[in-house]
Symmetry: C2
Subunit: 380 residues, 2 copies
């Protein structure tokens, strides 16, 4: 194996693939990154057995020539060193060649590194997925859907299936849902599919995988093909494949949890409500469940309050755009509301209560494709 590659594009690809590599792996070869050079270009592969990433750097495209290939071949290099090394190399070009015993030389500018490589034959082969179930979304929309739901996954391993985001498709609409059983975040979006009447459910992608994927997705409308199988999901970008295992188990049916009617409706300015809850959180962070109390006052105002007998008390009023329905006093986890308000883009939000002991919803005013649901907290 022997090639010279443009440093910028190589570093970018190495850093993408590195997101799938864990130094704490129990399988030694997976601490490495695989470099596979063919006449067409360079394929880089990484995997922690939950996530696998494969990128391809073409020899050239319409505008640029990226690689000089002198000899094809393959090697696996310890990612922990290799990634830092290529990032810090001084030149615009990087030369890499492999000699006997997997001895690998990396040269750039005045710097020469010799690394002990690993046997590429030991590296596991990534699965070939059947592409029967597939749909397409623009990157920015997928990125946003993940951002707006993944924060609500459970961090507890007691119900592993809740540590993922549930993907469902029906009638040309994709729904992503995350819940830790105290709060729920849901986002819908229409999608394009190549298969007629694509329907699937209970496709639960680990939150950790989606967080890594979101670091790679860009804010462009370049398409992502999403391939669904029973055990894996594959996100196909241009020159990048992102595989994730799916979580086992039955995701809870969440549709029936969402109340259809409400008794008290508020319309509120999002930023003011968020700032008020963040101030209340300065005290409520010390309290079990981060409890905050909300009550509707007269004159279209609500009061947010948090009390800790040890530290003190905070009280603040927020003026609503609209208040409709019954008076209410309710207590909830203020941090959960903060998390949801942060991923909403609109200037105003609706909060709809169905009673002091029933779940309530939070929604942006500018779209009905997003919904957040919260359980109240009993305080007596």
């Amino acid at each position: 194996m022997h090639f010279v590659v443009d440093r910028r594009i190589f570093v970018e690809n190495v850093q993408h693939v590195n997101k799938s590599i864990s130094s704490r792996t129990t399988i030694p070869i997976l601490a490495g990154m695989k470099i596979d050079v063919s006449s067409a270009g360079i394929t880089l592969t990484g995997s922690d057995s939950d996530i696998s990433i494969e990128t391809f750097i073409p020899k050239e495209d319409d505008e640029n020539e990226y690689i000089d290939i002198f000899q094809e071949g393959r090697i696996v290099l310890q990612a922990r060193f290799f990634v830092d090394i290529v990032r810090k190399l001084p030149g615009d070009k990087i030369e890499i060649f492999v000699q006997e015993q997997f001895a690998t030389t990396i040269r750039s500018g005045s710097a020469v590194f010799h690394l002990n490589g690993l046997d590429p034959e030991e590296y596991p082969v990534l699965p070939k997925l059947s592409e029967e179930q597939m749909f397409q979304l623009p990157q920015n929309i997928l990125k946003n859907m993940i951002h707006q739901t993944v924060f609500a996954v459970s961090t507890q391993e007691t119900r592993p299936v809740l540590t993922g985001v549930n993907f469902e498709a029906e009638d040309g609409v994709l729904t992503c849902t995350a819940t830790d059983s105290h709060r729920l975040a849901m986002r819908k979006v229409p999608f394009e599919t190549t298969s007629d009447d694509l329907i699937f459910s209970n496709i639960v992608v680990p939150g950790k995988s989606l967080n890594e994927l979101n670091k790679i997705l860009t804010d462009t409308d370049d398409p992502v093909d999403v391939v669904i199988t029973d055990t894996q999901v594959l996100f196909k970008l241009k020159n990048l494949l992102f595989y994730s295992r799916l979580l086992d188990g039955n995701y809870p049916v969440t549709k029936t949890m969402i109340p259809e009617q409400s008794k008290t409706d508020l319309e509120l300015p999002r930023k003011e409500l968020l700032a008020t809850l963040e101030r209340a959180f300065l005290l409520s962070k010390e309290i079990k469940n981060h409890v905050v109390h909300l009550r509707v006052l007269e004159n279209n105002e609500i009061e947010i309050m948090s009390v800790s007998s040890e530290i003190g008390k905070v009280k603040e009023k927020v003026t609503c755009e609209k208040v409709k329905g019954e008076e209410i006093r309710i207590s909830f986890n203020g941090k959960n509301l903060i998390d949801a308000l942060k991923v909403i883009d609109s200037d105003h939000v609706y909060i709809r209560f169905t009673g002091a002991m029933s779940p309530f919803t939070l929604q942006p005013t500018d779209t009905d494709q997003m919904l957040h649901l919260f359980s109240p907290v009993r305080t007596y």
Copy 2:
């Protein structure tokens, strides 16, 4: 106690004082910040018993009126909550008043906080230092001196006196020295003094204190008065007093460690040498003592090398401006050189060797008021 204060100036002062407060204190009252309101203004005090900071916000200055004082008085508030609260308050003004039982109300915009205060009578009184031994420096010069030495203090508690920076004064020159016994950083500067012939030595200020002080010092030439006593040092800024205890013990005599002659002199470009050593550190960080090998080649070049039998090897050449004297091969802790090169401003540096087994020096080419000394590492 009852006042209304401009939020911006109050937050700035609260954050300064907070640098001296530790939530892990064993003396409960020291987890609080003392607020003392007199007709002249507000004094804020914090202390972790190693460092104490006192700031004064005047009622007004030539340009602005900062405070409306309705009632004088004192209170101590839990810093952990108080600091975050004032930072996040919504209004331009903050009203604070104390009622019975130290119950304190903080009001700003729509937000009202009630905090359980602590008894200000319990708060320790800061010492009044004798100002017999005192000198003055511009803030930016003191800040720079600290920055260029404090990184070299020892982090080991085995010789506590080495965890501080030694201040010495003689003949109108202040010398700061830090060493962990493997490397030494020294910086000199002429200073102004009010006392004739100010001479002192073995004034060892904890590195931790100086790091906190440096977050407060600005890059202006506003003066700092430095007051020296046997057990404490006081840095007096406009409206801010920074006290630190001194370290016990005899600081080693370092002057005699610095070689007066050399056998091999190099002049090198600083940034290239730093980048080369940082690349070598990618491997040497895995090696005991972060060992790097340097040898002088022909053609005014040196070679930097680092080897780990497990991982591999890195080699790189750097072209010197000048090479004078004997050939040499020497091994040293590369990380120590990196640290020193980072605090040097000049474009070029001198390295002077006196033999493969003797300490060597690193100095900027543009001033002789700074010197770094390193022990070589035996590699056999």
